[in-house]
Symmetry: T
């Protein structure tokens, strides 16, 4: 089982950025926890982060031959990027969308997810735990997919 | 750790209702799986279902002295009930909203969650697995809350 | 042929409620006429009324083993209830929606029918006659369904 | 009792046009059934069809001295024609609007009926049966009107 | 003079629910104050609370033979219930709508009152005092009505 | 000076159609008054009416070599016809839009004038007098145009 | 016959203000033409202009005992002033709204007239001529009113 | 206790203006009743009315050193004046908004109150009684404020 | 290969109508160029123009037994005609929509194409060249269709 | 160089009004700073403030013969006054709009500036500094204008 | 004649991505066909693709000294990128927008083209053929431009 | 004092791009003027431009350890980029948004600033001068911030 964990714009600032909204954990700490959980499940993970919409599309496309599933936090692009939405649909790898904060409880322009329309599902609001639940869901999807082959 | 798992309207028909959208699992089967997972985590669960908005509000209110957290699938009331939204906020028990299908991928009137605005977080799109991930999140929230006391 | 005739909120007040909008016939008088027409067509009818959205959902679900078709006047829930809409779709019995007054000629918030989106068809504006035409349509749908088995 | 049955644009193609939406019956077959039902009720019917909004207005105006009621399927003009709406109101003959398909279950731009705002009532979703129910309603309205004179 | 005082969903939690919005008074304390004021005015009051939209409709309908006026706090149903709006109009007893908090100063979805469209008037924003002012207004309306008979 | 006076759909029913909105004057009586006023001003008038959007466009196009100005009551097409709007702009004869009733005081869908966007000006609300004022304005525009050549 | 001619904000700058939109005539020149036309019709006119919404309301109220009709160009307040709208309705003198430019051909926020909702009618787009046509209409309304007494 | 009672535009016409909406009481009669009620409560009242938005703002500002609370009927400015809204917030005296008619039951553009967003509360729909209830609420607020000092 | 080239309202005025928007070519000149291109491709073309929505529907319906594809410039009906949209879908001949000007660069009400929703594709903005490209596309579609039989 | 500095409604309360939004500086202190900066630049300034929309229009009109440029803080009228917008356009003196707070960061109804549509430019969010930057911009515009003569 | 053919996000996946929407041709195959057609017309083509909005802007800017026209498929950026819209306008090379699928027949959010507002024209819905028609149009525009120099 | 001056998409084309909107100054000339003004104020400036949303985010993040304030012209991303908005908020350096043209006077889609919601303030409409005023504001903010430490 191989899982790509992809982080969108500004997530590299985590821990230092508006901690009252996003918590005090850094991205490195999140990745450590996710790696530990993946190891426990016998899965391999890769991490990538970019502030560039185009680079995120490239990364999704390049994940095709390698990844069995994707855990994706598209950050602000969640709400504006038709191009990322198309990339998820085009690439066809099961993708679990995750958000640290609860997007339903934030500003109206953050309540709808364009990328979520084509994701397998969405986990939102649990901080670091959103990533762990997302990994869990991604592994289940990858297993189902393997079983279906 | 005591968790109330609450199901909203029409979920009692699960397995027989539009299986292409909601899958073939019955509610009883979901509850069996959730009970098993709860037991494995050393937690106690109670289940309740109602088609009545008012009864769901009553159940949330009555859970107050007993439950440490709630896993709630408000079904169609997700999108229309300000009263359930107020009940979640008023009761103050950490509540995880779950959906079998991915609400972001359905009809526009199902894309926004009124109840999700006051839930701790939302898990949507993973079928039975949404409940298991929701239980996992609810337990974590209950533990944090206990620790904070 | 067995037909459930279901009346939504405030229809129990018929005849005494705003007669300039809804006419002077009582619900009992309407039921007498519908029963007479059903008998003439060799069909059995049952009647039920509730002011509770949840009870109406319960009644639709419980009609499953008995009714061949439903004539349903959802009253004010026509325009607000996603849960009733889901119940009609989930139960799968052919349902004819009827309205005493012409919903297209009333306040804008009464012009769209959420429940009508999943009903077989809608009859609106003919007073008592809406029920009789609805019964006629329901019987035809029930016969088609029987023939298709 | 004299009833004008008026068909709007593209209904002349019935049976050959998108049968998955509109069924396989031709307009001639519908008219045969309606004529039979009218004869059984001792009523006279005339049929007319046009693809022209203006011609439909002319026909409604010219029906004034002859028709006791109108059964009208305005087709696509249902949703766009203020002029037909005004013609129905100006002519003052009781008019029953009918639709083969259920307009509440179709594209959003087909869900509101401008002409229905001034019709006596609307029957929608029962295929050929919509016309027969519409005839039934039109006859009842014509009788009430005659009685009221 | 007989006045029904009706409380909508979640008002039973008053005093324990979000006190920064709704204050620290319990519903029992409010009822004591209202009863005292009614007694001083020589009026009889009855109180009822429900979290169920349908039960609130039933209560309004059943108040018909008894009550001279109603003081009604529809809570969250204020903004979503066409059925309660219809019940107030159908029952025809003068109804004064009251709110503890100022609905014009809250979230946009709480700014319009569907039920207020058919109430005699609305008092909003004065905490317990909203009930006392509402009682005063209800008594005046009941007296006017008695005088008009 | 030659003026075309053009009447849109349903205006041929004037005097018999909803007199509480449009008054009791017939179109013939209006034309008599307009002809008298035109004669007094030494101008020639022609009248035409059609219920057909296309015929009204044809008439505007054919007026080109003859008319110095147009007085046009587009009736219901005022609010829906981009094609008539384009015809007025394309033909290039000064056009005065007139309405018997005050369109600003009617249903919201009658408040905006698509054709008025390209007319020289609009006169609305004065019954027969709207036509006489419109003729007066049309003659002034025709004189200005003649002077400008 | 006594007519008040009332000019709204910025009309005192006429002739010097954006002449490509409003023409080169000054307000004094317009008033000279209107006075001449009124004299020819045997009517008395008074003129007033203000940039103050409140002063325009005062002037309308004070015109009550004197004026038989009002010709009113509310300028920019046309589109924003509910208070002027209420003043026209409250004062009850027949009021003709006039505009130099064609409001239907300008920016969207100038296309609807709040004050026109309660005016007798509206004349828009003919420059100085709008005032003369407005005076003509106002005199006719004043005569009708006198005749109706 | 000193209370300023402030009336907005067109309220000076009360009793003579559209009595079917606003009743037959004059403003002087209302003020007499309010003065009597204030005297009974041992409070001093001052009254002021203006049709000018700016004057109403001035009056609110000038009330600062004198008034303990304000009863304010902003009339049509309720729905359009951000400046009055800002004045109420800036001045900081507890302000009770009152309306003779029920704004929730009137035209859509009268249903929201901009000024009500910053008022302490709103009383709407009880005619003269709205002022008396408003006075009662204002006195209570003034007393609370005095107690809090 | 037989191609119907259909022109909508006001296109008969081409070359004389607002040349800054639509160019100076006449419809006859366009048809000469299209005929030449069709001949070079060994195809037969017929041309028709109408200002009448109904006539355009008739022409599309009558093209059924003859045409292999249609090149259609629906002019102003592009944006308002659900009936033409339905006719294109009902007739089932591959239809290429063409526009002389770029509809995406014009007034907002010209930016969406109702007819384009059911056309095979749309070519917009190239003047006469739009027709030639449209013919080219229509021939390709006709060939594909022939090949598929 | 002569600059008019114009302050809109409620700005006279500055320093005492909601200091968390508008800061603690009084209007007099701002004017002292602006006068100092103007003197340093060799320019003359005049100050005026009004709560009246009409008076602000009068002041802008009266500034015409004197001022070379205007620094204008329209306060709440920024968002509602078409009349002030028209006055700025009509008067034709270069006008710099300034705001103490950042209007893009406030309530949605404060985010668009009607007056800013016709101002030369807008400076928003820098407290007192907004005025100083506005003065600087106004002087530059006045110089350019003088140079262009 | 030199033509830049520019492909937006996800077009590199063509042939493998949702073939039911976009067909089975790869981007390489499309480029081969376009190159062949360009060669036949004696024109030179260059191809470029990027998933990055910024890179597409850079490519458009860098094409300035080389390209005579551009054929541009902006993919998902069509509907969201004001920056690409500005780049097309700023660069000033005639640009033909092309789409494989018919954007008017897809999800509502794909129906408007921001980039198309500043393109010379748009070709949409013909698969590979859209590119060939676009090349044809681009060559015509380039020739016109050369002729105009 | 160290100030980063950041330019968004297409600003590198300045002087050559639509000079009627953006003026004839090049970006280099603007930077020369800004550098001169910074030097005069004893401040250090760095300049950067990118057409890439992601690169602009990177640059803002990388400015953190160096810059005391930012002057940012986000160009077209002003209106579409939630990601840049988040970057400004996350980085936490005082940011002054500047625009060459007056965004309030342009197309509706350019009137709101997403990035301005989190900037300290906005300067818009003064060409090169917008940058100089922005620098002035940025220096003041940087000084305040230094003083506050």
């Amino acid at each position: 089982m191989r899982i790509l964990v992809l982080h969108g714009p500004n997530l590299n600032l985590l821990g230092t950025r508006e901690p009252e909204v996003y918590g005090r954990l850094t991205l490195a700490e999140i990745e450590t926890e996710v790696r530990r959980a993946a190891a426990a499940a016998g899965a391999e993970v890769r991490f990538a982060q970019s502030n560039h919409e185009g680079t995120l599309i490239d990364m999704l496309q390049e994940a095709r031959p390698w990844a069995d599933a994707v855990v994706f936090n598209p950050g602000a692009y969640t709400h504006t990027s038709v191009a990322l939405r198309d990339a998820i649909a085009a690439v066809g790898i099961p993708t679990v969308e995750v958000h640290l904060s609860n997007i339903h409880a934030r500003e109206p322009f953050r309540r709808h997810s364009l990328t979520g329309e084509v994701a397998a599902g969405v986990v939102s609001g649990f901080g670091l735990h959103s990533y762990l639940l997302g990994l869990d869901a991604a592994l289940a999807l990858a297993r189902q997919r393997q079983a279906a082959r």
